[in-house]
């Protein structure tokens, strides 16, 4: 019993895009953290981190949303998101929202200290070196999502974990750190530019000869998958958590089970 | 004083509202300007003099600068003549009226037509001294003076620099320190005696303005040649 008591109590911050578009990523994240010895909970009152409002210049609404998030996640040892973007929002930007409200700023800083991106949490906090999953014979390439990379320093962690999966071969892109052009509302507001940026990305992805593209953020993944599918590329697209958790039985992003199962 | 000046300063000072009246500011600024401690000098510059010479040579050569090492001053005219022959150049030299160059035994090479003065449009080859060579980047430091007109550094197609190994320093800061030492006099600071121009020259003139293709010889010298006199360590 005492061993169970000492298990870290972790809240999963699901993120909007996982909630809406890719529930399997949420379940994969839970599995990975439970395998690593955590007690994982998913607070029901959670919504969005507020980033769309923040990046649209709506600071008041952002602060209001942030207060909700801070309250919901107050009682957990750690808060983990399968996203560098939402994770970065909470970890990097929340404290600055409350320069005029010291009490909230303190609470925001407290949350910031407990907030982690999934792969970074596994490797940097839990000191996990490898994941327990069946061999997967596939050539992968990895896109470093901007916020995870530049705000949270996520670069080596997903690669270290992927290396522990037998059979995976990582082929790096020429510029894995270059933005895919998603950019939140940018991808719709400046769709032509966004499409142009992602077409440079897909050229880089295709040139690797990889079968599977991975990344840690649903926004980028939806964008790159959408472009790859439009181009008719055979490259499949998944969130890194799905592969690490061995949960690749569901269709890849932008693909259907119907065609394949029939 | 113009009103524009006053208005610019008024806006600046209102932007500094919290600190503008701090009486310590003028002194802090004076101290900062007078500070001679370098901020951060790369390790690569902090090496013994012999290594600085080697690094300088390697750096300039990587920039397509050619270097002739000679044991003594009297060997310079011969090397200059060789350079002209190699590049099919007429034997006319426009030379800086500097004591180092004036005292070279040009007479040993009677073919060479040497005249002294600033750079003119018809001059194809100039010969000048340098004030220092900076090892960390292969940069020459030259400055204007009565005996070293600036136009010689930029107008001719070929710029030949005659300098001594002892003039090679490690870093930019070392070179500035030497220049301050040279310029400072009993009654005037180095700043008060500051020359009209100080030129740092790192390789021959170049451009990449057409499709990013590097091309040498844009507007300044197409070639830069250094005759280095091996006078040892200063």
């Amino acid at each position: 019993m005492s061993q169970i008591d000492s298990k870290p109590r972790v809240a999963l911050f699901v993120t909007c895009l996982v909630d809406l578009f890719r529930p399997s990523v949420g379940f994969a994240a839970i599995k990975l953290m439970e395998d690593a010895g955590c007690v994982v909970e998913v607070p029901e009152a959670q919504v969005c981190c507020g980033q769309p409002a923040y990046n649209s210049g709506d600071r008041n609404d952002t602060a209001a949303i942030a207060k909700q998030v801070i309250e919901v996640f107050e009682d957990y040892d750690y808060v983990v998101a399968p996203s560098g973007s939402c994770g970065g929002m909470i970890k990097d930007h929340y404290p600055a929202l409350f320069a005029a409200e010291p009490d909230w700023q303190r609470r925001a800083e407290d949350l910031s200290g407990r907030m982690h991106e999934l792969t970074s949490f596994l490797v940097d906090v839990l000191k996990i070196q490898s994941v327990q999953t069946a061999p997967q014979d596939v050539k992968i390439t990895y896109h470093d999502s901007c916020s995870g990379l530049r705000e949270l320093g996520v670069k080596a962690q997903p690669r270290a974990l992927l290396e522990s999966v037998q059979g995976l071969e990582l082929v790096e892109m020429q510029t894995p750190e270059t933005c895919c052009g998603f950019g939140g509302t940018f991808c719709v507001k400046y769709g032509e530019i966004s499409t142009d940026i992602v077409s440079r990305k897909t050229a880089d992805i295709n040139a690797t000869g990889a079968d599977l593209l991975l990344a840690g953020d649903m926004g980028c993944l939806l964008n790159m998958a959408g472009k790859l599918k439009r181009e008719g590329s055979p490259v499949q697209v998944r969130h890194v958590a799905e592969v690490l958790a061995g949960m690749t039985d569901l269709p890849a992003i932008g693909e259907s089970s119907l065609g394949e199962s029939k | 004083m113009s009103s524009s000046r006053d208005r610019i300063f008024a806006t600046l000072r209102s932007g500094l509202k919290h600190t503008v009246n701090d009486p310590a500011r003028p002194e802090a600024v004076a101290e900062r300007i007078a500070r001679r401690t370098p901020n951060l000098v790369p390790q690569r510059a902090q090496i013994p003099h012999a290594e600085q010479v080697a690094l300088f040579t390697a750096k300039v050569e990587a920039l397509t600068v050619t270097v002739d090492s000679v044991p003594a001053e009297q060997d310079v005219p011969g090397k200059v003549a060789e350079y002209l022959a190699q590049h099919n150049l007429p034997s006319q030299l426009r030379v800086a009226p500097d004591p180092l160059l004036e005292n070279l035994p040009w007479g040993d090479r009677p073919m060479l037509q040497v005249d002294y003065g600033h750079g003119r449009s018809q001059d194809l080859v100039s010969v000048t001294p340098a004030f220092a060579g900076i090892a960390e980047t292969g940069t020459l430091m030259l400055h204007s003076s009565t005996t070293t007109p600036t136009t010689l550094h930029f107008v001719p197609d070929h710029h030949i620099v005659v300098m001594k190994e002892s003039q090679i320093t490690g870093s930019l800061e070392d070179a500035f320190a030497r220049l301050r030492d040279k310029l400072g006099t009993a009654d005037k600071t180095a700043a008060e005696n500051w020359p009209r121009t100080v030129n740092f020259v790192t390789g021959p003139s170049r451009t990449a303005d057409i499709e990013g293709v590097p091309v040498l010889g844009a507007h300044g010298p197409r070639r830069l040649h250094i005759v280095l006199i091996a006078d040892g360590t200063p």
Binding site: F27, G57, I65, V188 | W194
Partner: protein
């Protein structure tokens, strides 16, 4: 009357740029070799990151005492025989320069590269007043012949192909004769860059000697000595400033630094960040007119210092922008810039620095697209030698636009409606459930949608991946939890 502003048409400019094959070629050069040379030279200097920190410290220190440093600079410059002209507005700067040129009865003015003279629209103004300005930086010269503004602050003509340059030279140099072949007109041009560079060298050479006044910019102003500093590769700036009788250096107030040690530090990061060189070919400190005993150099030396709103940035969210040393690394590394090029931004300073600076200089309403047209990927801040938080400044502009209701109503209402839902979890869940059910139904067969109402910006160029299932993670999780109990 300064450079023509088209920033308000950013979307149309960008759409045009996306279809311009020559621009796309140029952008490959900027995003490819230029960006990677920066990485290589930085890697070869282990102290590069620490030097960036030193650079930031220097500039931050100066900004705390900028009034005193400018006073000291003025005092030193004046003591060396130079003259300082303070100009609050582009108009004042133009008038000042014109008056100086007229005092020399100038007909021909050579110009080294200067972004501030672009900012004040100097060339058109001089031409209107009967003075011919000739740009001498090769890139600037090419775009001057083409009557275009620069598309990049250090590679102003990179959007021109060699064929276009050859054509411009054929049109504008009808009398050009082949080198060493007097009397032989050049005729149809070779498109070899080397040959074209030789032609420009030849043509401009005469101009340097004919010019009455030489105008350059200045990257730095040194308080210790009163010197201005230019950094070039071609040597054109030095010829421009040492051959005519008058040298005017046009610069702006934030360029002052304390002393030569500080110059040394910043030079180490400037060229590396800009072109990936360790040092640019020519770095020149200029300080006053020719000394009585000098054999060459200008008889008069003037420094025109422009404010144009910079002083107002002090003590605001925009203050970090005053650290900028105009290296261009932010644009060389910007994915949006790589797609649309410099002209799309519609004013002098393009790319991330322009997106942060232009709204202040030309007005937020005019420039409102610029801070919005960013993915916030953060690469600009990563490469900025002065560590300017460019995305934060762009976000600050978005906040201003939101507050002042400059953001288009539809966008504002959209984000407010969404925010309302996000503040009411039950509403959010309801909306999410409905949307996801709908999208899943539409896209189930293929796993994606080829078009989507209101999201044409996405689906014109990409498919829209359908949700994995008809229910959200939260509802699936809840039913699982229920089943487990």
């Amino acid at each position: 009357m300064s450079m023509q502003i088209t920033a308000q048409n950013f979307e149309a400019n960008a759409a045009k740029a996306l279809k311009d094959p020559n621009l796309r070629k140029a952008m490959q050069i900027i995003g490819g070799p230029m960006a990677s040379r920066r990485v290589e030279t930085a890697r070869e200097l282990p102290e590069f990151e620490a030097l960036r920190d030193e650079g930031v410290k220097i500039k931050n220190h100066v900004l705390k005492h900028i009034d005193l440093y400018l006073e000291k600079f003025e005092q030193q410059l004046t003591a060396r025989g130079g003259k300082l002209h303070w100009c609050r507005t582009p108009r004042e700067a133009r008038e000042t320069i014109l008056a100086l040129c007229r005092s020399r009865n100038a007909k021909l003015v050579t110009k080294g590269k200067s972004m501030v003279t672009e900012e004040i629209g100097l060339n058109a103004f001089l031409e209107e007043h009967g003075i011919t300005p000739v740009e001498t930086d090769l890139g600037e010269y090419i775009i001057q012949l083409a009557h275009e503004p620069p598309s990049h602050i250090i590679g102003p003509a990179l959007h021109k192909t060699r064929e276009q340059v050859a054509e411009l030279f054929e049109d504008h140099h009808p009398d050009y004769e082949l080198p060493n072949m007097p009397g032989v007109k050049a005729g149809p041009r070779s498109t070899e860059p080397q040959v074209l560079v030789t032609e420009a060298r030849q043509v401009l050479r005469d101009r340097y000697f004919q010019a009455d006044v030489g105008i350059t910019g200045a990257n730095f102003l040194i308080a210790e000595t009163g010197a201005t500093v230019i950094v070039t590769n071609e040597g054109n700036g030095d010829l421009t400033q040492s051959l005519p009788k008058m040298h005017i250096a046009v610069s702006s107030i934030e360029k002052v630094i304390p002393n030569l040690e500080d110059l040394s530090t910043i030079l180490r990061i400037l060229a590396r960040s800009a072109t990936g060189q360790e040092m640019s070919c020519y770095t020149t400190l200029s300080c006053g007119p020719k000394r009585p005993e000098d054999k060459d150099g200008p008889e008069e030396f003037h420094v025109v210092l422009l404010d144009n709103g910079r002083s107002e940035m002090l003590g605001t969210a925009l203050e970090p922008l005053l650290r900028c040393i105009r290296c261009g690394a932010c644009m060389n590394n910007c994915p949006v810039y790589h797609s649309v090029g410099g002209h799309a931004y519609g004013w002098v300073y393009p790319g991330p620095i322009g997106a942060a600076l232009d709204p202040h200089m030309i007005g937020l309403e005019t420039a409102r697209h610029l801070p919005n047209a960013s993915t916030f990927c953060g690469k600009c801040e990563e490469v900025c030698p002065m560590r300017i938080p460019l995305p934060d400044v762009m976000r600050w502009w978005r906040e201003q636009a939101h507050e002042k209701q400059i953001t288009p109503p539809l966008q504002r209402w959209g984000i407010e409606a969404w925010a309302f839902a996000a503040k009411h979890p039950w509403l959010y869940r309801l909306g999410a459930g409905i949307a996801i059910g709908l999208l899943n139904m539409l896209g189930k067969d293929k796993g994606r949608l080829a078009s989507l109402p209101l999201a044409g910006g996405w689906t014109d160029g990409r498919d829209f991946p359908a949700p994995q299932s008809a229910s959200t993670f939260m509802s699936q999780y809840k039913s699982k939890q229920g089943a487990a109990r």
